[in-house]
């Protein structure tokens, strides 16, 4: 068989190095990434919404308390006593709600959007 000269060898090397690998990403890769980005965006806007909702509720509760203390101090202190008595129920309720949200966002959705291994 004929021996390859330097020029032919260079050409072969160039051709092979310029040839794209046969393997690649799955055909639906772009759709999968887009879905993941959409989910992340939705997650962020939901989080923003929760923060706004918590802030609004806190402000409203503070205002109501303030009004009670100003207009009907006895009723105001009564509500404060009930709140203090049941503080752990309130705390656990909020904690439970946030835990469910966390499990929904982090565990369920991330598993759903996780790409299957080839």
């Amino acid at each position: 068989m004929k021996k390859m000269n330097d020029e032919e060898l260079q050409k072969l090397l160039f051709d092979v190095l310029s040839t794209e690998p046969a393997e690649g990403l799955p055909y639906d890769f772009s759709a999968r990434v887009t879905r993941r980005v959409q989910a992340k965006t939705r997650q962020n806007s939901e989080l923003r919404l929760y923060i706004i909702a918590i802030a609004v509720v806190s402000i409203v509760i503070t205002l109501i308390y303030g009004l009670f203390f100003l207009l009907k101090p006895q009723l105001g202190s009564g509500i404060l006593t009930i709140t203090t008595d049941y503080k752990w129920t309130f705390v656990l309720g909020i904690f439970g709600f946030l835990t469910i949200q966390y499990l929904d966002q982090v565990l369920l959705k991330s598993t759903f959007f996780k790409s299957p291994k080839r």
Binding site: M1, K2, K3, M4, L9, Q10, L12, L13, F14, D15, V16, L17, S18, T19, E20, P21, E23, G24, L25, P26, F29, S30, A31, R32, V33, T34, R36, V37, Q38, K40, S115, K117, R118
Partner: protein, 185 residues
């Protein structure tokens, strides 16, 4: 034809369809960069996804100072490097300055099998090169980036890139000469 300026504007305005087109346009480039850095194919897709999520989140910072492909390739390169540093510490080692003495694992049975095919043999040799050589050679030949663009992507000086290319090419040529002597003579 893909208009990168138009695509970026649309993505920044929340058009997810435009983002999907952008991913389609650059997924091959990202795949080449990531797959040449990581040897484990099962990690490649996850890292590619991570790259495009970074692209999406950081697109507002892209000011068209460079080509979009260069910017995306840079993100892909550093995501791959960080992944290696984080999970595969043993892979990133300091390679000998004297690349002429770089040792290819010729005894690998897979490699011996593929020796039947010169092109596959070169591919196997490329995959055995150190990461930085592999990436430089891939960006230059496969993705057709210029020296300046490779500098921008990898952060390596131009002289180093030229040196890596020269050494890698020479090394591959030497190995090919030895191989072809055995096959074609």
């Amino acid at each position: 034809m893909f208009n990168e300026r138009e695509a970026v504007t649309k993505v920044l305005n929340g058009d997810t369809g435009a983002f999907e087109s952008l991913v389609k346009q650059y997924e091959r480039l990202v795949y080449v960069v990531v797959s040449r850095l990581l040897r484990e194919p099962e990690d490649v897709e996850d890292i590619c996804q991570e790259v495009f999520i970074k692209v999406y989140n950081g697109l507002f910072r892209f000011g068209f100072q460079s080509k979009l492909s260069t910017w995306i390739a840079r993100i892909a390169y550093f995501t791959g490097i960080n992944y290696i540093k984080k999970y595969k510490k043993e892979v990133l080692i300091n390679y000998p300055e004297d690349m002429e003495h770089y040792h290819f694992t010729d005894d690998n049975p897979e490699l011996l099998l593929t020796k039947k095919d010169a092109a596959k043999y070169i591919e196997q040799l490329v995959l055995q090169l150190p990461e930085k050589y592999r990436i430089v050679i891939s960006l230059f030949y496969l993705s057709e980036f210029s020296y300046e663009e490779i500098c921008e992507i990898t952060g390596m000086p131009e002289g180093t890139i030229k040196n890596y290319l020269f050494r890698a090419r020479n090394l591959l040529k030497q190995k090919m000469e030895i191989y072809l002597k055995g096959e074609l003579l």
